[in-house]
Symmetry: C2
Subunit: 364 residues, 2 copies
């Protein structure tokens, strides 16, 4: 049997190590494991979500409402847009997948930052297209502009960025968008926008303003980070109805679960929980910055719930990550991005304590 | 902005009307609505699943284990295959999507039955390929064989079939497979196999035997029907590791939720619930057959949890479906398949009573 030749170019994505597997591998007590690897909300999710799920569990034999009407309405209210501006995905990830498969033909090009979310390139390859990268680790729109000459079909702007945590000013993004061809779809991946907007309002990109001014842009968001629903897989895209309709043609029916939809609606309704989580996040982030300064680690100022810590040349982030893992602390080694750095999710105060303490002990 | 031209050929899938929307449209009391449209298990799911979900809900801020190790192991044990033979999908639906995108190039052909699951053709179109159909409503392998001349890249055999409910004998399927080129992938869509195997062991296709004898075949199953987890979106494919590896390249990370994985494992462990549901199903199915005979409706002997009822020429299934809907009973009109027929899911005894009673009243 012959598979498409584009598959030869695809490596499967390596996800963060789940707690259960660490426990299994090193025989560590589950309650001693500290997971700071996947940018999850350490407070969990809103208590309202938990009650809602309990009420709905007896109905899980029923298929979800495939129109996802109630969730679209809740998002439309939150962002002051129409339901027809919204598509629901199994994580915002799936929106990128729809976009790739709806637009790209063999040989097309896609522009992204040098260091960014690994899945863009995988979806691009799935469609037989090619990724062009800027030269800079941090997002630099002058470099994006220089690469417009390659006539990309899609541009990914990740703001705030993952795995480094930097964020672009809204005004700078809008200036850049004016220089992009209306034939190019620009994806604003805003998975961590709730954090950035709270830290600095200049970073806030409002999807309503964005798509009103740039009908060739799409905004993507997720419930996996600030809303604390990583296990339930809910994301969304906001764009002009023409784009949203096209993406719906690549969507399979029932792409999120009934519990996921209900949970997302409840989570959206509890902004107090989100704001409390974010306030905690930046208080604890300060401790990471102080720790880094005191430990000769270079960091990027982060607008997210994680921080990238760069190691000096004579030390190895990879070896350190392994030593931490053996002691039950899971962080993300950025070696696969060509960086001698760790990405650490800001956890509960006690979890961060454990990280600081162990780093003194095992750093290599 | 330009989307791929293949999108022009795609209509979006029309899902069964969810209970909430019927309630909204006709102002019917939710407790009076009877949904017999989506082949869900009317008993719900195993009580063990409900307890398990309650235990795990506090952890939904954590991403799932992307290897889905525990679920693969449970399925591998059930089917006496290896974990490397298994891929998990968001419904078996998503397995078809992986298959289409991994194999099909523009201009390729896919062979399916005339009347069958609507999504095969949509995934085929997404990949720019073309569907060839047999001429017969029921699955007829002689017709499939006659169409091998078109050199299909993929063949879909749906056994038992949806929306008609007929099923093929295992021996007949295996005889047919011997005549298929090893370069063609044959998908055995066995979404309702638990029902067929219980009604007539000759229909049972064991995935282990299937892939041992035909390495170009893949078996797909689901937790949405007999296991009662339609809202949680879990399906699987079982095939040779080479095929499974290729399909994994088209899979996005975290494609089912953490609760879905845990629920599927529990559901698989409670075969008593499944067998009880199936026994009830065929007892009530007998009542549908008697009703059809007494009401001049033609039916196809069904190996599933639904029955297709064909109306006489002077009556309209579509008008009848609408009249039922206005009274809160939801069934599937098969007009979009070119049939003057309804597909009715076998419900609880009281739900079936309501259908029989209303049919006398509103049939048009």
């Amino acid at each position: 049997m012959r598979f498409r030749s584009v598959l030869d170019e695809i490596k499967t994505y390596e996800a963060g190590k789940p707690i259960e597997l660490v426990v299994r591998d090193y025989g560590i007590n589950p309650s001693d494991v500290v997971k700071l690897a996947s940018n999850e909300n350490p407070f969990g999710c809103s208590a309202k979500v938990l009650s809602k799920i309990a009420t709905l569990t007896p109905h899980i034999h029923r298929y979800p409402d495939d129109s996802y009407y109630a969730l679209k309405t809740a998002l439309a209210n939150r962002y002051s847009v129409e339901n027809s501006n919204i598509i629901i995905g199994s994580g915002s990830d799936q929106i990128f997948e729809f976009i790739s498969h709806a637009i790209l033909e063999q040989g097309d090009t896609v522009l992204q930052n040098k260091i960014t979310f690994a899945m863009y390139d995988i979806y691009t390859r799935q469609a037989g297209a090619k990724t062009i990268r800027t030269d800079s680790d941090l997002h630099d729109l002058a470099q994006f502009e220089a690469n417009l000459i390659h006539n990309p079909k899609i541009i990914y702007l990740t703001t705030p960025s993952n795995p480094l945590g930097d964020a672009l000013d809204r005004d700078v993004v809008f200036q850049f968008l004016k220089r992009v061809s209306p034939e190019t779809l620009v994806v604003i991946d805003a998975a961590y926008m709730e954090y950035a907007a709270a830290k600095d309002p200049k970073k806030l990109i409002d999807p309503k303003d964005l798509i009103a001014e740039f009908p060739n842009a799409i905004y993507t968001g997720t419930f996996s980070k600030a809303y604390g629903l990583g296990g339930l897989r809910v994301g969304y895209g906001i764009g002009e109805p023409k784009i949203i309709e096209a993406l719906h043609k690549m969507r399979a029916p029932f792409n999120i679960t009934s519990l996921s939809m209900a949970a997302a609606i409840e989570a959206l309704g509890d902004q107090e929980f989100v704001q409390k989580s974010i306030a905690h996040n930046f208080r604890e982030m300060k401790r990471y910055e102080i720790f880094a300064d005191a430990s000769e680690l270079v960091f990027v100022g982060s607008y997210t719930n994680f921080i990238a810590l760069f190691f000096p040349h004579n030390q190895s982030a990879t070896k350190t990550a392994k030593a931490l893992l053996e002691r039950g602390v899971i962080v993300r080694d950025l070696a696969s991005y060509g960086l001698n750095a760790l990405r650490v999710t800001v956890g509960l105060a006690s979890e961060n304590d454990r990280f600081f303490e162990l780093m003194q002990e095992v750093r290599k």
